[in-house]
């Protein structure tokens, strides 16, 4: 399993090291495409064209692969000194163009410098003759090879989606209207919940400013509703209340109106909704 990072300490120390020792050199001419105009969208047909059209690379490994290919180097025998220089040049160029350089690019710069310095170390003369010495580049090679597979897979997906975009499903038919709905995932649940919660926060703020409705007003509203509609669902009426206090006021209003007016409470089913219904005054 290739190790992704050094431990935190080593990593941050090395990044600083990498930044301090970036040699100031004239900018290499081969990177003369316009980074600001090009986008990271894939618009090209072939893999090579693809890379060239990118304003930014998908990550440090992507950039490394590009540089290795550019140098026509063997991935199993990376000329680490040259590639490291190219890599650092590229990062400097990105910085000079005000392209935000992600931390991951700097971590890779530090790793490259570390590998480069390890390669320069003389072999330990005390080491056993036949002792396996690990190539300091091995871990990087493994990661690059692994990464490149997924890069190819991404290209395959891109091609598939392009073909798929040429296929169209039928237009709307009548039965779709009954189903104008969305199918939801767990992520939708969470994002919808967050939106509702945010909206709720806003409303609570507004509510503080809103005047509470008085009992007299509530009774007036309720009367009007019952006499207009002949009946009213209590459940629906209570749901309209915006706060706990309003709910209590509404409840008292209902009790009051049943006592004083020609109104009946009707419940059709146990636990069912309760209806407030106007009754014709008894002829007497």
């Amino acid at each position: 399993m290739p190790r992704v990072y050094f431990d935190c300490l080593a990593s941050s120390r090395l990044s600083v090291f990498a930044l301090e020792f970036l040699p100031v050199q004239p900018q290499p001419e081969k990177y003369n495409f316009d980074f600001k105009k090009e986008t990271a969208e894939i618009v090209a047909e072939s893999r090579d064209e693809l890379n060239l059209k990118l304003g930014e690379f998908a990550g440090p490994l992507d950039l490394l692969l590009y540089l290795i290919r550019q140098e026509q180097a063997d991935i199993f025998d990376i000329p680490i000194a040259r590639i490291t220089d190219e890599y650092l040049n590229y990062i400097r160029l990105m910085k000079s163009l005000d392209i935000a350089v992600a931390a991951d690019f700097l971590v890779m710069a530090a790793q490259l410098i570390e590998i480069k310095s390890k390669m320069l170390l003389p072999r330990d003369p005390l080491a056993e003759e036949d002792e396996e010495i690990e190539d300091p580049r091995q871990e990087l090679i493994d990661r690059l090879l692994e990464y490149e597979k997924f890069k190819s897979a991404a290209q395959m997906l891109y091609e598939k989606s392009t073909v798929e975009q040429a296929v169209f499903a039928r237009g709307k038919i009548e039965s779709d209207d009954a189903n104008a709905e969305i199918s939801a995932s767990v992520f939708d649940l969470l994002s919808v919940f967050q939106k509702v919660a945010a909206r709720h926060k806003e409303e609570v703020k507004l509510e503080i400013q809103r005047e509470e409705i008085s009992l007299a007003e509530m009774i007036r509203n309720l009367k009007k509703r019952i006499f207009e509609d002949a009946e009213l669902s209590l459940l629906a009426f209570f749901e309209e209340m915006h706060s706990h206090r309003e709910l209590v006021t509404a409840f008292i209003a209902v009790l009051e109106i049943v006592r004083t007016e020609d109104v009946k409470l009707i419940q059709k089913k146990t636990f069912g909704d309760i209806l407030l219904k106007r009754v014709e005054p008894a002829h007497s």
Binding site: F168, A169, R170, G171, K172, I173, S175, A178, N179, A180, E181, I182, S183, A184, S185, V186, F187, D188, L189, L190, V192, F193, Q194, K195, V196, A197, R199, H200, E203, L235, A236, F238, E239, E240, M241, H242, S243, H244, L247, F251, F271
Partner: protein, 181 residues
């Protein structure tokens, strides 16, 4: 549409079929002629040909003229089977109101109607009814408070539909925190 496309009659029939198929509404001859840069006569001939094909195939579909345009629809004799099919459609499909209500119930359960109202700020009675019908939520007894309102929570069906093993698998806001930034 710069150069005149040299379509064979068969190709024209095929492309006319494809366009009628993707149209949300019946497609008129004029619109077909405009889009395909062909004259009315060619389009009419293609439709006639297509119509004859549909007739002779005796498949499940028909090409029919309706409201001044052409449309592909199912044959009327299969309406019972189609009704049966439409009834089976997956019930994870929800209106936004229902989805909002479900989200509140999922994250705040057990929860009462007034509490849902408090959070959503709108009535949820019909959404709750839908969710109960789709068996995505169930009642969880009464809350011991004024009016003893009903408590609602998510059901086993909910876990199934959303591919969750149990409620602890429901992602929390923290799980996506890194993504939001």
């Amino acid at each position: 549409m710069a150069e005149q496309p040299a379509r064979s009659p068969a190709e024209l029939v095929a492309v006319v079929e494809a366009i009628i198929f993707v149209g949300d509404e019946p497609v008129t001859v004029k619109l077909l002629a405009d889009v395909l840069d062909e004259d009315r006569q060619s389009i009419e001939a293609a439709i006639e040909q297509l119509s004859a094909e549909y007739e002779s195939r005796e498949g499940g579909l028909q090409l029919r003229e309706v409201a001044g345009g052409w449309q592909i629809a199912t044959r009327t004799e299969f309406h019972e089977e189609i009704r049966d099919f439409l009834k089976t459609r997956p019930s994870a499909k929800l209106s936004l109101a229902s989805l909002e209500t479900l989200a509140v119930i999922a994250y705040k359960q057990p929860v009462t109607v007034p509490e849902i109202l408090e959070i959503r700020g709108v009535q949820s009675a019909s959404a709750i009814k839908t969710l109960l019908e789709k068996r995505l939520i169930v009642t969880k007894g009464h809350k011991e408070t004024v009016g003893r309102p009903m408590l609602y929570g998510t059901s086993k069906e909910f876990l199934l539909q959303f591919g969750l093993k149990d409620l602890t698998e429901l992602p929390s806001i923290e799980d996506f925190e890194d993504l939001v930034q």
